[in-house]
Subunit: 187 residues, 2 copies
DNA sequence: AATAAAAGTGAACAAAGTGTTTGTTAATGA
DNA sequence: TCATTAACAAACACTTTGTTCACTTTTATT
């Protein structure tokens, strides 16, 4: 890809992210974005069809890496491997978030965080589905597998939201322990 | 309240709801709303400051009733009363949703459902917080109560979303049983 | 029934944003 | 070096916004 394209693309992403920290997605205009990114109107529309299109591209960029790492992890160690495994996929995910590449936390804590959270959950749901092994414990007899998968991915993103809203006071390891404690009884 | 005010208010709510079924919140314009509701531009702004204001009012109208019912229920029976109590607050909530007053389901399943779901979760979170009794089972030793509350409200709304997306094939009673099965081990 | 208060109306408005076109300049990579 | 590609600024027709104005209709009170 052309160096110039790369540059404008990141300029737009960066501008968009910093705007999201200030106002809601709905209030951000293309005008805002091109002013902040300092690119021409024509240039913006050469890269993205609409503002929604930009949002989607940003989500892919943001979660693509983090989710593919988690996928690798669960392929080698399994989704929940051993009870006290330090290699928990969930712990890895939380650690990745804490590293805050590309200011992913900024977007998960901004006014429009639900948009990103929803995308995150969908990706996570797919990941879990691909690696789910039903252990058929007593508690989950005859509960549909799809329900359980949704429960896990749903609880996880809600926990992440809770974590971020509370200024991420807990370590990823501790949070992982909490999560496994509420999830393990049903696996 | 004046009969005329009541009429326009519901006209606007109805128009807004039906528009939400067709397009996303962000794409709906005030113009759309006043055209559909068949009220003057001035009238709209006499009732609501902005589109966001209208959204908030609609949420309050929608969830106000359903949440206060649930609050009554949990005051008398407790939040999770007995293991197999038919009077589960959660079951009541699901039944209420199924009744679909004011087309609440339409809004929880539309393109912009996250907005309503988030409001729903916040209300539910408060409700649970006000009625939570920590039973201190083995599994939740030293897990912060706030974490547990968030886990319960979060899982519930994610389950509702899953339910609706899957065309609500399960009965409220069955869904309630699933939910209690995944939540009870940690109470 | 008369009347004041309140609610709704339609028209007009300036301001801002949208998405596109056009001609031009400048950076890129082969 | 040179053709290609990207970015640019300016202008555009158009839509949406939020507000003001003078006006009509409905409502509740006396």
């Amino acid at each position: 890809m052309d160096r110039r394209q790369q540059k404008t693309r990141t300029a737009i992403f960066t501008a968009f992210s910093s705007l999201l920290a200030k106002k809601s997605y709905g209030r951000i205009t293309v005008q805002d974005i091109i002013d902040t990114a300092n690119v021409g109107r024509t240039t913006f529309y050469a890269h993205f069809e609409t503002k929604d299109d930009l949002l989607k591209a940003l989500c892919e960029e943001l979660f693509g890496h983090i989710i593919s790492c988690a996928a690798d992890c669960s392929h080698t160690h399994g989704l929940y491997s051993d009870n006290n495994a330090p290699e928990s996929v969930f712990c890895h995910l939380l650690q990745h978030l804490q590293e805050n590449d590309n200011n992913i936390l900024g977007l998960l804590s901004c006014e429009s965080s639900e948009i990103f959270l929803r995308y995150f959950k969908d990706s996570l749901n797919e990941l879990i589905r691909n690696n789910f092994v039903n252990q058929n414990r007593r508690t989950n007899q005859d509960i549909p597998q799809d329900f359980l998968i949704n429960h896990i991915s749903g609880s996880f993103v809600e926990m992440v939201l809770w974590w971020i809203k509370g200024s991420m006071k807990q370590s990823p390891e501790k949070l992982d322990r909490y999560f496994r404690a509420v999830i393990e009884p049903i696996l």
